[in-house]
Amino acid sequence: MYMQGVANRLGVVFFPAFDWAISPTHPERQERLLYTMDQLKEEGVFDIPGIEEYRPDEAGLEDVRRVHFSFPDTESHLTPSHLIAAGGAIKAAKLLREGDADKAFALVRPPGHHAMKAVHGGRGFCNVNIEAIMVEYLREHYGVGRVAIVDTDCHHGDGTQDVYWHDPETLYISLHQDGRTLFPGSGFSSELGGPKALGKTINIPLPPRTSDEGFLHAVDEVVLPILEDFRPEIVINSAGQDNHFSDPLTDMNFSAQGYAALNQRLNPDIAVLEGGYSIHGALPYVNTGIILAMAGLDYAYVREPDFDPESLRQDKRTREYIHQICSQARQSYFHPPDSGISRNMEDGYFVRSKEIFYDTDFITERQREHLLDCDHCSGLLLMESSSSRLKNCLGIEIPRGACQRCQSAGQMYFDKAQQNESLRNMQLIDRPGGAVRRFRRE
């Protein structure tokens, strides 16, 4: 018999964008998924009954505007490849909801998890957040509510964390290399979500040289118990592959076997490729492993040519440290601490200020954010933003399920702000109304 039957029908949306790069020798270049394609084709993966390859959709501008405040406008941060990558994630979600597949893997590029709520340019190779665009598409078109995103990229997914910071319906868990040792330098245990969504952001900053054992410990001891409690309708794996022992940008010891085992245990509905730049020695094997694991097939023989579990073994100190980080993370979800959470209030609004650096485009942005402390919904969000290139921008979001008061307050603010001569660029995301309003002063 040719291949055992799959346990889950898997749709793979494969879009390697062989004609797109950030720059010729950038890690995010044409060649990135070339060897992955060769491996998948040679393995005959798409011939396995129950595994189907699909062409991505192209996301519309409205799909991006539903998620991001883009300044000066949405178009200026996008190339067709970004819309196709986001459309690939959307296609994966559609396959699931239309019943064409039980699980889906968007194997697309460029990635998205460093793109934050407000976008002034590219950060960490990301311009728009393809997972968030997918999740909000699911909510808009399929009425999906609770969603969990488990980010297994080696870099902290600060963009996804930022997009969902105030959303109690979206659980964001990130496993990554400790921010003190790697870009973007965030994702510490104390980052737990906004005042209305405390404990819905969980960070597990793992020490350098964490191996399969450490990652799987975090999944078993933290991620799975939290998911069981949160009961999401959909689990998404933000599947970065740069934890690999051969990755040129990071210092971790994860393997293809480990990635496959992680996906087997996590059992995500959708996986979306994020980073991963060991294009020769890791990606071909890791992607094969993830696909087999998601389909419920045997992956025991998927291993890198230079895989040596002995040399990748964690020492005792690393193991103990990981155990300690994990028990803390678990505690943070089940018993979020009251202290240490910034709750500056001004006129009934929670206030937060931050500074964001766009490493890809070399831009600095300053933000001041106001969240209405509303008893009836997650609260109206106002975001004032100025970057080193563009001053005086304003984003207003009336969130999903907003109460009547927040809805009219949002519209009123947007109308009033247009009278304010000093504000140059404005965007209102009105989720209950399903509309986006934009205003640009010439």
Binding site: Y2, M3, D19, E31, K41, D47, R55
Partner: protein, 566 residues
Amino acid sequence: MLLGIDVGGTHTDAVLLDRSGLLASAKVETRQDDLLQSIHAALGRIRDLAGEVEVQRFNLSTTLCTNAIVQDELKPVGVMVSAGPGIDPENFRIGDHYEVIRGGLDHRGEEIQALDLDQVEQCTKRFLDQGLRVFAAVGKFSPRNPEHEESMVRAISDRAAFLTAGHWISGQLNFPRRIATSYYNSAVWPIFNEFANSVESSLREHHISPQLNILKADGGTMPLSQARRLPVESIFSGPAASVMGLMALCDIEEDALMLDVGGTTTDVGVFAGGDPLVEAESVELVHRPTLVRAMKTESIGLGGDSAIALSEDLCRVGPRRLGASLACGGEQATLVDALNCISEETFGDRDASIRGMREIGSGLQCSVEEAALRVVRQSCRSLREKTMAMLERINERPVYTVHEFLESRRIEPGKLYIMGGPARLLAPYLSREFGLPVVVPDNAGVANALGAALARPTLQAELFADTHLHHMTVPVLGRQERVSRDYTLKQAKRDLSEDLCRFVRDNYHWSVDESEAEVVEESAMNMVRGVHTVGQDIRVKCQIKPGITPDYEGVVKCICKELPTG
């Protein structure tokens, strides 16, 4: 003069042509247990009609290998595979003698683990002890580097009657398909080889000594010498013959569909800008996908003899065939019977058709005519839905570049070509259902044999170069050499076109101009290690596409008059 014979499931058709047109045609029943006899009979008929003739070329399309595979009359093959890491190669086990040899290459063709030559030797001995004389040697990533396969070939070849190495089949990456295709190639060889010998000797008996070619699934021909090496390529040549027949009969220049309506099934073929679609990954044999390049055709389980089934107030047609139509003395009303009730032309025993449809009509509480109309329309709708689904799958094929994503051309058929027994009767209804003009070519009765007779050679090859490793290979043509860092895509394209044409000239006895070698895929990507560009990854795919023998173009063109729509 050209001779073409198509040995089909029910009939064997033969045609004889010269540059003035069709000289003779014959149709005999196929004897499945003795295909050679069927060929004999057809040849005899042609001789009766045309007398002694000088045949320069004889193209034969035969179901021999397809039947052997489908009916499981295969000879045992000793299969050796070397795999390396990935999916467990046990999953691809095929036949009764399959052994995984230690050793492996990575996706660049670089050796991860040396091939275990001792194990190859022991395995060869064991296979020989088991009485095996036919082998297949397949390595993972052999199109990148055929070295492991060639080591196995060197070890076995002296002791083998026949042997297939994976990279001879295709330069395309797909290990499981390469294993299955190599296995089938070896497994049908004993049967094919004996058949080829018999055909040659029977031609000598008929005192003709033409150049003998075998029709392939992609609509092209290969000389018998090449067919003896790759007999598996002769499978599923039937649908390819009908597509080629249509090309011989009609000038197709646009996107179009071909519906060949048979007794049990309707074969659908697709043309893009006048060229038939050919695919390397379309053929499945006994649930095993293969790498045999074939015309992109799909078979829909609905034909002239499909039985009409009644349930509640609905009628369904097909996919079952319960025998001939009532008009031909069968026992069950079929699509042909329905057509017989509403067409001006009659066919067979029309009264029997009417009696049958009256029964259907009473079940549906309507008149004979209305029942017949409903059946015909339902059949046409079903054919359209399945055809459109096939077209959608073709148009939605994955693409890998932003350019292709944004620019890829959709196939949008502007015309429908209908062939097969009920074609003329069905045409107006299909035209209305598809909303397309319809052409029913004359001479469609022997289209398959015409297609076989007029087909010309085809060949495809892939070139892969890694200028970092200074390595270039064209697996199916057996070329491997060292190239410099400066080797370019342009050179690669020229090398491959030249190689392809040379190979056809030397092995196919066919003069081919380099302009006929068409580059169908090309890419050159910089390989960056660290922050430095270390070389280029160059890939070219080149083909000589299916077509009608140039000096015979137009000799059997029919009047392809469009029927008025609706």
